[in-house]
């Protein structure tokens, strides 16, 4: 009985919240309502999938990525020289790959509704849109829609949750340096979580899933992480290259 009353109270509370919009103070912006701060400089700590991320894997080495036949065919035909000739050295720097690259990130709020992630390696910029403006279609970084996914906490408690990002409309690129493909139909779902260590270090943990009906037989699910740096002293711009 007590539980039923509690649930009713919860529904009532949330409904009231939902209706309050036009009468109270202006809704808080995504920047104001951030669950945690991920701005600043971050360096990739490449300790997982190391031989696929920080060195160029051998042609045809697709370990861990479940390609379908079409995907396998493209991976087996990978020709970095051809990409260079076509001016497509940035194929492995698209949104589905850049957070796995050995890179530094500089994350800032571009405005109240847009997070900007710059990567020094490959000089890429991602824009995570909390609003509804559509842009970026067909570029390496595609279009990223972001939201703070909140888990309701107890009364009086600070809300908890994650930054969720869904990226679509990416220009076809490579999941890895050695030509493992993703198509324009690929969708990238990411969670960007910040964890704080007792020693004062902070890490950005990126959980990602790439789904691609064209080249992948199964979603490619992985995670990577970045450690917070005090400033941009180690920022080093590197151009896109086809091989590390």
């Amino acid at each position: 009985m007590r539980k039923r009353l509690a649930i009713s109270a919860l529904i009532l509370t949330t409904s009231l919240f939902a209706q309050r919009g036009g009468r109270g103070p202006a809704p808080r912006t995504p920047k104001d309502s951030a669950l945690y701060d991920i701005t600043g400089y971050w360096v990739a700590v490449v300790t997982e999938d190391w031989r696929y991320r920080i060195v160029t894997p051998k042609k045809g080495d697709t370990g861990g990525v479940t390609l379908n036949q079409a995907g396998r065919k493209i991976a087996d035909a990978w020709d970095p020289a051809k990409d260079e000739q076509a001016g497509e050295q940035c194929r492995s720097y698209g949104a589905a790959a850049i957070m796995n690259a050995p890179t530094r990130l500089h994350i800032t709020w571009q405005d109240d509704e847009t997070l900007k992630i710059e990567a020094d390696n490959g000089q890429q910029t991602r824009l995570l849109h909390f609003g509804s403006a559509e842009s970026g279609a067909g570029e390496w970084q595609g279009y990223s829609k972001a939201l703070w996914e909140i888990v309701p906490a107890g009364r009086g408690e600070k809300p908890i949750g994650s930054l969720k990002v869904i990226t679509t409309k990416m220009k076809p690129g490579y999941l890895r340096k050695n030509g493992i493909p993703y198509s324009v139909s690929a969708a990238l779902t990411e969670y960007l979580d910040r964890v704080n260590e007792p020693d004062g270090n902070a890490y950005l943990v990126v959980t990602s899933t790439v789904e691609d009906p064209v080249y992948l037989a199964q979603p490619f699910q992985s995670a990577s992480h970045f450690r917070k740096e005090p400033d941009g002293a180690h920022w080093k711009v590197r151009p896109c290259v086809t091989r590390w």
Binding site: F17, D120, V151, G154, N201, V205
Partner: protein
């Protein structure tokens, strides 16, 4: 804890709560969430899970290739340990059923089960339990705020873990881990490692993020992720039995294969097969960061740098980076071991105390600096006077308390016997038992006669039945001295090793007094012949070392392996004509110094290596080891 309960309840699954959740989310973002699938982010991790096979797919079945160390922030000791590691080590008896330590355990190719344990009356969260199929390990993450045990307590595969909810993650702090693997290709995680972990749940997936700090083998914290998927269907596959046996018939117990640095035949294989710069495969902090791209851009320079990393750098030996668990607060600390046995730490060498219907039997008496406190601590364990003190050696750290502890006891077994006619004080104090050489050495040292063993033996095995159990005292010839014994309490299944085994230093091999590396290794193998683990190299026969913390056979096996490997290196150098000075300069202990080494104090690494050299160069003439 209360928060956790609330969260669990809210996410608990009723349609009403899901409706409420949707309202919250919609309010929070003003976005349409239709089309989003899966559960929202949360912290309740209960259920059955398995490692997703996409990330590090080539490493999931355990090992990785030899010399595949890229992305691991190894220090020199960690790299050298791995370079010396020979894959046949896993065929050694004590290595066949080695357990898994976190975080490595979350990369196992088996099922994982997580569940909550709540107080049945208050429903408050007491612990989160985890079970992993491979190695059949169980882990308890205490959520009730209890403190971690003292440093001298046992280490286990799962370690001692406490947790708390932290934002959208379950954060876990772990200490007391056994020496395990970062990767089972020789990349060791030492027993000094501590661990912080975050379990971050996103729907049917957990992103597991861990940071290992290991002062022994790592140059800087080792952070990494694993990803786990939720099993919707109960997997019903939870067992993975292991029982060790002879895999190489006739292999001597003192044979532990290792690669001598610079002679590893497969050290370049992984790099060559995968077209990776060799330097990058050797690990170290730089291999984790974008700077690696610059480091390997000049291939000739990178190859030169790699060549320098295959052997110890020039320079003095390193001192241990491990912490000594021995209390130094001037108090005696008591820890129950199992059965009738307790462990007393705080007065020099460790003291084991057996209690029961008869008077306490002690193994060793400590340094004698705070004997009154030792006596007071024993009185809390037993109201009977101390009856026996067994000395495992004559060193002052073990016999310093003999006089006072003997005086505090009595031995009714000789009181009123025919001994009474021969010794005025027969039975008036505790009886001190020791191998004859203990008495000989104490007499030679002119220590007070009241502290000499009165019950000496010369046979290989002295036996007694006391406090309801068989007690065996075995002489270990020419181990650290010519007077060493170990004591095995058979029903309690506890072995006190005296100075033959230590968790804080290399063995103090006193060549002048009959010690030898050959006898030391033989003594450790003798101990290992008597131990039985309960499950996967854990528990079962418990070990009280002369110095350091409570152990089981795993630590003894590791210590034995280390000494065999060091012996073989010194022997190899002697065979090649190396002088004592050359052997000392070769840093043959470079992979172990960060754990056991000393550059100052009464027993330095150089003194230990010299003792090994001396006894290999001029083996002891008498008292052949068992």
């Amino acid at each position: 804890m209360v928060n956790a309960m609330k969260r669990s309840w809210i996410i608990g699954g009723s349609a009403a709560s899901l409706l409420a959740l949707g309202s919250f989310l919609a309010f929070g973002q003003g976005l349409d969430f239709s089309g989003h699938t899966g559960l929202p982010a949360g912290v309740d991790i209960s259920g059955s899970w398995y490692p997703l096979p996409f990330q590090d797919s080539g490493l999931i079945t355990a090992s990785g290739a030899l010399a595949e160390y890229g992305g691991i922030p190894l220090n020199e000791a960690g790299r050298l340990y791995a370079l010396a590691w020979h894959p046949s080590r896993i065929q050694g008896r004590q290595h066949q059923c080695m357990g898994y330590v976190p975080p490595y355990t979350y990369n196992q190719p088996g099922n994982l089960r997580f569940w909550e344990e709540r107080d049945p009356y208050t429903q408050r969260l007491v612990a989160i339990k985890q079970y992993w199929q491979i190695s059949e390990g169980t882990r308890t993450i205490w959520m009730d705020g209890r403190p971690h045990p003292p440093a001298y307590a046992q280490h286990t595969w799962a370690g001692f873990a406490t947790g708390q909810y932290d934002g959208n993650a379950l954060t876990v702090y772990t200490t007391h881990l056994k020496r395990g693997w970062i990767r089972a290709n020789g990349l060791a995680q030492s027993d000094e490692a501590t661990l912080v972990e975050h379990f971050i749940r996103h729907g049917d997936r957990i992103t597991y993020f861990s940071v290992v700090k290991d002062p022994v083998y790592l140059e800087e914290p080792f952070s990494r992720t694993y990803t786990l998927g939720r099993s919707i269907k109960e997997p019903d596959a939870w067992q993975y039995d292991c029982d060790d046996g002879e895999q190489i018939i006739g292999r001597p117990e003192d044979q532990v294969e290792s690669y001598f640095w610079g002679r590893h035949p497969f050290v370049r294989e992984f790099a060559t097969n995968n077209q990776i710069p060799f330097l990058a495969t050797l690990g170290g902090p730089v291999t984790m960061y974008p700077e690696l791209l610059d480091k390997v851009s000049d291939s000739a320079a990178a190859d030169r740098a790699a060549a320098a990393e295959l052997a110890p750098s020039a320079g003095p030996a390193h001192a241990s980076r491990a912490s000594d668990p021995t209390p130094t607060d001037g108090e005696i600390h008591v820890l129950p071991i199992q059965g009738n046995l307790s462990f007393l730490a705080g007065d020099g060498g460790n003291i084991a105390v057996q209690v029961g219907d008869e008077g306490p039997m002690l193994v060793n008496s400590g340094a004698g600096k705070i004997s009154d406190k030792v006596i007071a601590a024993i009185r809390k364990l037993s109201d009977k006077p101390i009856q026996f003190i067994v000395n495992t050696g004559f060193q002052a750290d073990f016999t310093g308390g003999n006089v006072k502890l003997r005086a505090a006891g009595s031995d009714p077994s000789v009181l009123g016997s025919f001994f009474s006619g021969q010794f005025v004080d027969a039975g008036k104090g505790a009886t001190i038992i020791g191998q004859q050489n203990v008495q000989n050495h104490l007499m030679a040292l002119k220590s007070p006669s009241q502290g000499w063993p009165s019950d000496t033996f010369v046979q290989a095995r002295r036996r007694k039945y006391h406090n309801g159990e068989a007690v065996e005292i075995f002489h270990m010839p020419n181990a650290v001295t010519d007077a060493d014994s170990i004591v095995h309490f058979r029903r309690s299944d506890v072995i006190a090793t005296g100075d033959i085994f230590s968790t804080v230093s290399y063995p103090h091999i006193d060549v002048k007094n009959g010690g030898s590396i050959q006898g030391e290794i033989a003594a450790l193998n003798f101990i290992l012949d008597r131990t039985v683990y309960k499950h996967d190299e854990e528990d079962g026969t418990m070990i009280v070392p002369g110095h350091g913390r409570i152990c089981d056979e795993w630590e003894v096996a590791e210590y034995r392996d280390m000494l065999v490997i060091i012996r073989d290196r010194v022997q190899d150098l002697i065979k090649s004509g190396a002088t004592r000075e050359k052997v000392l300069a070769s840093r043959v202990t470079a992979d172990y110094d960060d754990r056991f080494g000393a550059t100052s104090g009464p027993w330095t690494t150089d003194m230990f290596v010299e003792a090994v050299y001396n006894t290999l160069h001029d083996p002891p003439a008498r008292g052949s080891a068992k």
